[in-house]
């Protein structure tokens, strides 16, 4: 799915073959989803820097175990930091406390700095664990696993449709953009650009709706009744229990470290 961001790269889970991801790829998808939630909740509950560094180390450990390309995964994580950097930079100035230094008469506080570091560590630890444990799954397995975890059927259908059609619609978008480019369209800050992009979005939506009518017709013709038929059977193995026990123990250890 990540190809939507980088034209060349295919999915984060390149070929979708679980065996590529070492020990992580062999784990039961349901267990991975449940454990990432447990880990996220435990991490968000942490409040001291050493414990949060521990949580981030656990995420890094998972990354190493997954054999994902480290540079690319960490870069993607850093892209998220780009979004929050302004908030983090403002924190020392907006939180009252012992002054660290002053910029143009605004004091920066130590408390604010620590709080900003806390947020950055939490956010990165959770998102990295999520990308490693769930992002390595084939998107369709994510849908199946969520269904097995008793997610509402309609929501899983919606998820599967979205996953299926993102690629189709992205190709359509690129085709339309190609057609615009060939006619000499160059985006800029002007009325013409905004009108063209608006029409582009409108056209995509109109085509999407017409496409969905054809899909519905094809599905009805095959007797679609709203049931999900899952091709994969999941079973929990010893390694799944070992993984769950280890990660839970680490979470408990981190929470204990936090309360010391």
């Amino acid at each position: 799915m990540a190809h939507a961001l980088e034209p060349q790269a295919k999915t984060l889970a390149e070929a979708g073959d679980g065996r590529l991801y070492g020990p992580v790829g062999e784990l039961d998808p349901r267990m991975r989803i449940v454990m990432v939630c447990v880990f996220a909740i435990a991490t968000v509950a942490l409040q001291t820097i050493p414990a949060l560094i521990g949580a981030f180390a656990v995420s890094l450990g998972l990354l190493v175990a997954s054999r994902l390309p480290k540079g690319r995964t960490l870069k993607r994580m850093a892209m998220m930091d780009g979004f929050i950097i302004f908030m983090l930079v403002l924190m020392p100035f907006s939180m009252p406390g012992d002054a660290m230094f002053t910029v143009f008469g605004f004091p920066a506080s130590w408390q604010g700095l620590w709080k900003a570091i806390e947020i950055a560590l939490t956010a990165n630890a959770v998102i990295l664990a999520l990308m490693v444990l769930v992002g390595t799954m084939e998107p369709v397995s994510l849908g199946h696993a969520l269904h097995r975890l008793r997610c509402p059927e309609v929501l899983v259908h919606l998820l599967m449709f979205t996953i299926r059609y993102i690629e189709v619609l992205r190709e359509e978008y690129l085709r339309l953009r190609g057609a615009m480019k060939i006619r000499g369209f160059r985006p800029g800050t002007n009325w013409h650009t905004y009108r063209s992009f608006g029409y582009l979005v409108g056209m995509m939506l109109v085509r999407a709706i017409e496409r969905s009518e054809r899909i519905l017709g094809a599905m009805k013709c095959r007797g679609f009744s709203g049931r999900l038929f899952l091709l994969q059977e999941y079973s929990l193995h010893r390694r799944d229990y070992v993984f769950a026990a280890t990660l839970s123990a680490l979470c408990v250890a981190l929470l204990y470290l936090d309360h010391l």
Partner: protein, 203 residues
């Protein structure tokens, strides 16, 4: 616009999750068998549209288009936008996991409100009148989203108030662009497929 894990206080995160579950349940109830493919394909369209970068001055912004999503999907915008956020978090690493609920509410609630306020108006009158209401809906949805993001930050602690104000003012240009694009998209849809907004709006 994504809030990350660890930034918000627990009551805000839990409140957001509860509200998101409620909204998603409302949305799923409105999706009967015949509307599942439409909602799924539209959800994918909005996912793709959110990757479009529109230039503004020396910089560029990416589209959110939650107003347009609301106008087309009604309550179903809740699960559709939730799915988009879930996929972005899992596969791109945007946003976070425990904040998925509050992020969904911040984006999808304005979409539903825009549909309630402007949904009936865009199908009426001339296409240009419809487009103007569409633009109003697009601007309203972004304004409400930024306001909700600012409120969820401000509720989590006083130290976030400057960041919350910054978020709000930084999004005024985004608001204008979203309004223009939503307006033109509605204009085109009204011209090439007039029945799109005339269907019975039972969503």
């Amino acid at each position: 616009m994504h809030i990350v894990d660890g930034a918000l206080s627990n009551p805000v995160v839990i409140g957001g999750a509860v509200a998101a579950v409620g909204g998603i349940a409302m949305g799923l109830k409105s999706l009967d068998l015949d509307r599942i493919p439409t909602a799924g394909v539209l959800s994918a369209s909005f996912f793709v549209a959110s990757l479009i970068h529109v230039p503004i001055g020396p910089s560029s912004v990416h589209l959110i288009l939650n107003g347009l999503a609301g106008l087309l999907l009604g309550w179903a915008a809740f699960p559709a936008l939730f799915v988009g956020l879930l996929l972005q978090a899992v596969f791109f690493g945007f946003g976070g996991l425990t904040v998925l609920g509050i992020n969904t509410v911040n984006i999808a609630l304005p979409a539903v409100l825009a549909w309630m306020l402007f949904g009936g108006l865009i199908g009426r009158g001339s296409p240009v009148q419809g487009a103007i209401w569409g633009a109003a809906g697009g601007a309203f949805a972004i304004a409400t989203t930024t306001a909700l993001v600012a409120v969820s930050l401000a509720l989590s602690g006083d130290e976030f108030i400057p960041a919350a104000k910054l978020v709000f003012f930084a999004h005024i240009p985004v608001m204008c662009i979203e309004a223009l694009l939503t307006g033109f998209a509605v204009l085109l849809a009204r011209r090439v497929k007039p029945e799109l907004f005339l269907k019975d709006r039972t969503a």
